[in-house]
């Protein structure tokens, strides 16, 4: 049986982190879990996925929700927990996969088979990518980028002890603006080879 491989991909908005994750999943022939993960959870529980997706990777509002005996009523936290449980279950089953975001580098930390990476980028290149992808002008792209990264940071830091983007949280931090998406993929694959060789 092939040794388990879990790749956790954290990313700045516009860095191409999702594309890196997709290419890694394709190259290794393993599943990719991103926002579509909620579709799988919804199908399994006979729910509408849109009801869950509305709260994906969001921080909950302290004024609108409460915690009683460890139970929190916020949809954001419960949707996050559903995803965490799903990922833990997959990891426990021995499945290999690539996961984008979802605090995976923290919640799957106990798995030696996990390699965590963070894809960052320089502002001009990220803005350019967003302008192209979303058909926006530069000002809107920069605003959109700021907003998305702020939300990701708030969401991540709500559940993880080490801050989003802090290099101590990841095995590898790569700047996609310096080496491009393919360069990132190459770097990560090289790193995974080294890890596997080291732990042989």
């Amino acid at each position: 049986m092939e040794k388990q491989l879990i790749i956790s991909v954290g990313r700045e908005f516009g860095s191409g982190g999702h594309e890196v994750a997709q290419k890694l999943a394709d190259d290794y022939g393993i599943a990719l879990y991103d926002h579509d993960l909620l579709k799988e959870i919804a199908a399994k529980k006979n729910l509408k996925s849109e009801d869950l997706e509305a709260y994906d990777e969001l921080k909950w509002n302290r004024f609108l929700y409460r915690t009683v005996r460890g139970l929190n009523s916020s949809p954001e936290q419960n949707v996050a927990n559903l995803q965490f449980d799903f990922l833990k279950e997959k990891a426990k089953s021995g499945e290999s996969f690539v996961v984008v975001g979802r605090c995976s580098e923290t919640i799957l930390r106990e798995y030696e088979s996990m390699v965590s990476i963070f894809i960052r980028g320089d502002k001009p290149q990220k803005a350019e990518r967003i302008m192209k992808y979303y058909n926006m002008n530069e000002k809107d792209a920069l605003g959109f980028m700021k907003e998305k990264d702020k939300r990701r940071k708030q969401y991540h830091n709500r559940y993880c002890p080490i801050a989003w983007g802090d290099s101590r949280n990841y095995d590898l931090v790569v700047n996609s603006s310096r080496v491009g998406v393919d360069g990132c993929v190459e770097q990560v694959k090289h790193y995974i080879d080294l890890v596997r060789k080291y732990h042989k």
Partner: protein, 452 residues
């Protein structure tokens, strides 16, 4: 003046910090309680007497704390140890019942009794929620009812959200019916010296009448969603056997007997003279003795955080009371109402309901007790008892209106959300706020007709 300002600042800071949930709420109230002792009573008032009255440790050594035959115990200020001891005792008993599978067995047995039909389950679970919450804390009631409802919804293929919402409402309503159903009632009862019978014949009557209207309301509100279910597709034999829920048969029988004894002791405490603190200690001791080697496990499961929360809270509220802030508030309500009792009752019930819909009803009730006591003593012709029932119903029921108003709401919503059934603020309030208004209106009308 300095003491009053400090007491108000500490009180408001406590409320804000509880809402923000930066730290666990028991540490917030305890820290604010400590600040009250040091700054309000020490720095502001230089009063050792106020500290002693607030800590209220001397109450343990009075006969009235344990036995109050033939007369109502005196209204007391400071830390309400009777409430804390009673709640601790009930927690131990409830943990014992949960451990042997009592609640799951009861829910499953009722579902089986109504032949696993969705609408009858919906109706009976509302009644079950109401009755259980009369004697057991509504958090525990909803914890088990919501979990079983979700399990049944998967078996019978129905949307569990309408059922969970109606169970939450009925648990809060049931809690308002008795002295031990909801913490505000325990605090009101022990602080003002009312008995279980006093509550059941006053708030209990209002709750039962309201229940009839509430059941009809929820039936019409949710009937379409519940009728969409794919019920009865499977063979009943494939459903879980209620008996499987029982983990220890001997313990189960013992738990049932202890629960019945607790109910009898509570119902008859005005006649026997046993106070709620004595009843709390007695049922806790019996539960622990019966549990044998599992006693330590039960003790570990007690929600000490809530008990500590109460201790800190009572100290902070005493800061407002000792400095006369609550007297000023009472004077304000008295002048706004122009001394008119009908207006006063309406203000208390509506303000209590609205406030409890957004903030924790326990600190609110604890704060309002000295206020209504002052109102009754300062304004001629105002009966304290009537104000107490208005306060009890307002604080108990108002909490149902929003998702954050009462602990049972949070637990119910969270239990549903953990399985992916998201209950948004909009959906919650759409169904629960009108039900709250119905109950407040019925209660107000009943108070007017009966007491004025």
């Amino acid at each position: 003046m300095l003491a009053q300002v400090l007491a108000i600042i500490i009180f408001l800071a406590m409320f804000l910090l509880i809402i923000l949930e930066i730290w666990e709420r028991q540490w917030i109230t305890l820290a604010c309680g400590l600040l009250t002792l040091l700054l309000v009573f020490g720095l502001g008032m230089h009063s050792m007497g106020a500290i002693m009255r607030t800590l209220n440790l001397q109450s343990f050594f009075t006969t009235g704390f344990w036995y109050a035959a033939g007369e109502s115990s005196e209204a007391s200020s400071g830390i309400n140890w009777q409430t804390i001891i009673f709640i601790a005792g009930m927690m131990i008993m409830v943990e014992g019942m949960a451990k042997v599978g009592f609640f799951r067995w009861l829910c499953m047995e009722i579902a089986k009794m109504v032949k696993y039909q969705v609408i009858p389950i919906f109706m009976t679970f509302m009644l079950l929620s109401f009755v259980l919450a009369m004697f057991i804390d509504s958090i525990t009631v909803i914890l088990f009812l919501a979990a079983v409802t979700i399990e049944l919804s998967q078996l019978l293929e129905f949307d569990p959200v309408p059922m969970i919402l109606s169970e939450i409402f009925c648990a809060n309503l049931g809690g308002s019916a008795t002295m031990c159903g909801d913490p505000p009632n325990i605090i009101i009862g022990t602080s003002l010296g009312y008995s279980f019978t006093d509550f059941i014949t006053n708030t209990g009557l209002m709750a039962v009448v309201s229940l009839v209207f509430v059941v009809i309301y929820f039936y019409f509100a949710f009937r379409k969603e519940l009728k969409k279910s794919g019920a009865n597709k499977k063979d009943h034999a494939s459903y879980p056997d209620p008996k499987e829920a029982i983990t220890d048969k001997r313990g189960f029988i013992a738990s049932c007997i202890i629960f019945l004894c607790a109910v009898v002791l509570l119902v008859s405490h005005a006649q026997t003279g046993l106070t709620v603190s004595t009843i709390g200690v007695a049922i806790a001791l019996i539960t622990l003795i019966v549990a044998g080697k599992d006693a330590v496990e039960l003790l570990k499961k007690v929600d000490y955080k809530t008990l500590l929360f109460f201790v800190g809270l009572f100290v902070v509220v005493s800061g407002l009371e000792e400095t006369g802030v609550l007297k000023i508030l009472a004077g304000f309500i008295g002048s706004v109402s122009g001394g008119n009792i009908a207006v006063m009752i309406a203000i208390i019930i509506i303000v209590s309901a609205v406030a409890s819909a957004f903030i924790d009803n326990i600190p609110f009730a604890a704060t309002m007790i000295p206020v209504i006591t002052d109102l009754a003593s300062d304004v001629a012709g105002v009966n304290l008892t009537v104000l107490a029932w208005a306060l009890a119903i307002g604080t108990d029921i108002g909490g149902s209106a929003t998702p954050i108003g009462a602990s049972a709401n949070v637990v119910g919503i969270a239990t549903a959300a953990r399985e992916g059934h998201i209950i948004k603020w909009g959906k919650y309030c759409k169904y629960m706020a009108p039900a709250t208004i119905i109950v407040v209106a019925i209660s107000l009308a009943m108070i007017y007709v009966r007491y004025l």
